[in-house]
């Protein structure tokens, strides 16, 4: 096989990934032409670091979408975690935050388990099940903190909000998820269950267990997003996570994840998040009226999907 043929074959198989990064590149180029401040190290670092909770939430959403579901309670869960973090172990050193982290992870895992049970065992569709769950979680967040406040230990949040450590966290998380999806049985099962649950069942996979585990895993990521969010805000906020629900969904979809399940890549979701972030960033830098940002985001979403769906045809 010549190099060209091999490349074409490779491109065909990995088309989604290449396309989304081409789109990302396009956005970077347009943005850097539009504003000279865009392509500065400082700005690029900002784009990345201020969107870490968003990024991790989008990973969580992608995993849920991969198993053929959708999670509209991500935002509410993240708010809940920030509230927990801001009320437990608020003073003292690094280690004082540990109980909060532990409880957050535990709570999110339990919530993930509940969502999984509702969807698999009770057969309630993910959309409506997670919407209801998000109402309930929102209630609990308000019960813990009735308004933004509380305090996250400074010792703890310092390292969590520095650029380098955030970068390291993201890299580790990315590699872990990527490795999990590509090189473990569980990862393959996630794709299989989402792609065709009946086939997966007949291949001897316990579909329900995989789905529930997927929700639990996504729960862990949500907890992490919440912890990072709490650390960067140094406080809790019962409503702060709300916008992340639709944002994470949008980013996953821009990244090419399909609602029918079994299709999507973590590396594409990453690109989706960054594209989303760049749009906000460049519109801010240009000083465009905030009203137009809604329209830009809406059109981007439709635009990105239209391109991929036409290619799929």
């Amino acid at each position: 096989m010549t190099f060209k043929v091999r490349f074409v074959n490779h491109y065909k198989r990995r088309r989604d990934i290449y396309n989304i990064y081409a789109l990302l590149l396009l956005f970077v180029i347009i943005s850097s032409i539009l504003d000279k401040d865009f392509l500065t190290l400082r700005n690029l670092t900002n784009i990345f670091t201020t969107n870490v909770p968003f990024l991790i939430a989008a990973y969580a959403q992608t995993i849920v979408i991969l198993i053929g579901g959708v999670d509209l309670s991500i935002g509410a869960c993240i708010s809940l975690v920030t509230c927990i973090m801001a009320t437990i172990g608020t003073e003292g050193g690094w280690w004082s935050a540990m109980p909060g982290i532990f409880i957050s992870f535990l709570v999110c895992a339990v919530l993930g388990f509940m969502k999984g049970i509702l969807i698999t065992k009770f057969g309630i569709q993910a959309l409506i099940a997670t919407l209801s769950i998000s109402l309930i979680i929102g209630g609990f967040s308000l019960a813990i903190l009735d308004k933004p406040g509380g305090n996250v230990s400074k010792e703890f949040s310092k390292p969590f909000s520095s650029d380098i450590s955030l970068f390291i966290i993201c890299t580790i998380i990315f590699i872990l998820i990527w490795f999990m999806l590509n090189y473990t049985k569980f990862g393959k099962y996630i794709y299989a269950v989402g792609g065709n649950s009946l086939s997966a069942y007949s291949a001897g996979i316990n579909v329900d267990v995989v789905k529930i585990s997927g929700f639990i895993l996504s729960g862990f990521l949500i907890a992490l997003a919440g912890v990072v969010s709490a650390a960067s805000m140094r406080s809790g906020d019962p409503t702060s996570g709300e916008p992340l629900t639709l944002k994470s969904l949008t980013a996953s979809i821009i990244g090419g994840a399909s609602f029918s399940g079994g299709k999507g890549y973590i590396e594409c979701t990453f690109a989706g998040v960054i594209i989303f972030a760049i749009i906000n960033n460049i519109l801010n830098l240009l000083g465009v009226s905030t009203f137009y940002q809604y329209i830009a985001q809406g059109l981007l979403l439709i635009f990105a999907i239209a391109i991929t769906s036409i290619q799929d045809k």
Partner: protein, 320 residues
């Protein structure tokens, strides 16, 4: 065929509406126990008025969900209808035709774009309407410059708050009319059949000679129209317009439809169930408002009740 499939089929054959109405009655009885005056004529009239707004939006949503889609842009369209009609009305009755046409047109155009994107560009409805919602949000803000203006005209106010026809405001009768039309459309017309068929199996629909494209587009147009009109009716309720007039209609309309036994996976369900779902939600909200408990417990109770209804009624069955 597997045992499981058979069971689910038997279950599906049973009229699901029966169950929703049972739950509605139980709900009303519980309300009566908690708040003795709950079933007074005035309160019923109030709840029905709330249901009318939600019910009209849910009517469009029902059609969309039967075609296996979901319309997330309804809430923004309600808001847009709200601010647009208030501005066009400017407090004068003679402006009603202009306002109605303007609002209806906007609803229809938005529905048309939604439907076209979903059918021709093959964009999943959730994504299309999500994006459209975001665009509409921007349009509302640009249109109002963030400061909504205008007022309801007396006739519109009478329509929603007046009591020309006994204790019930006329808007309830509009809802009843819409209900009849929707039920008639779904049950008795070829269009209704096509809606079900498109939701059940789009490929077979194309090959059976069903005008899939126009059916889908029509469904979204109806949904857009009804949502925008609800926005106009809301002006009669609020007297003026607000930037977040429609926010609640997104989740509530979907919840009402799903509770009413329509599957999100499409092809099944009807509006009769949705009516009960709508009233259940409005009763629940009203009840939670009256009972003096902290906001957080209200939210928790609301979520749990919706989940419980879904679980108990088992209206959804697993789809592979």
């Amino acid at each position: 065929m597997s045992l499981k499939e058979k069971k689910s089929n038997i279950f599906a054959n049973r009229n699901p509406n029966f169950f929703v109405y049972e739950i509605l009655i139980i709900f009303l009885l519980i309300s009566k126990l908690i708040v003795p005056s709950f079933l007074g004529i005035e309160n019923i009239s109030n709840i029905l008025r709330q249901s009318a707004f939600l019910g009209i939006v849910a009517a469009g949503q029902t059609l969309v969900i039967i075609t296996a889609g979901t319309d997330l842009s309804v809430s923004y369209l309600v808001t847009l209808g709200n601010v647009l009609s208030a501005q066009l009305l400017a407090g004068k009755d003679e402006n009603i035709p202009v306002a109605f046409i303007g609002v209806a047109l906007v609803g229809i155009i938005v529905g048309l774009i939604n439907g076209m994107g979903i059918y021709f560009l093959k964009i999943p409805s959730l994504v299309m309407t999500l994006g459209m919602g975001s665009v509409l949000q921007g349009v509302v803000l640009i249109f109002t410059k963030g400061a909504p203006k205008g007022n309801a005209s007396p006739a519109i106010r009478q329509l929603v708050s007046g009591n020309l026809l006994g204790p019930f405001p006329p808007v309830i009768f509009i809802w009843i009319m819409v209900s009849f039309i929707i039920i008639f459309l779904l049950k008795k017309t070829v269009f209704g059949r096509n809606v079900y068929s498109v939701g059940e199996n789009p490929i077979a629909s194309i090959r059976s000679g069903i005008p899939v494209g126009s059916t889908l587009v029509m469904v979204y147009i109806i949904c857009g129209f009804l949502s925008a009109i609800t926005g106009m009716l809301l002006v009669g309720y609020t007297g003026t317009s607000f930037l977040d007039a429609g926010t609640d209609y997104q989740m509530n309309s979907i919840a009402a439809v799903v509770m009413g036994g329509t599957l999100l996976s499409g092809g099944k369900g009807d509006y009769v169930g949705t009516i009960a779902g709508t009233i259940i939600i409005c009763v629940l909200l009203s009840l939670l408002n009256i009972v003096n408990v902290p906001t957080y417990s209200r939210q928790i109770i609301r979520g749990i009740v919706i989940l419980l209804i879904l679980i108990v009624s088992g209206l959804q069955h697993k789809r592979r």
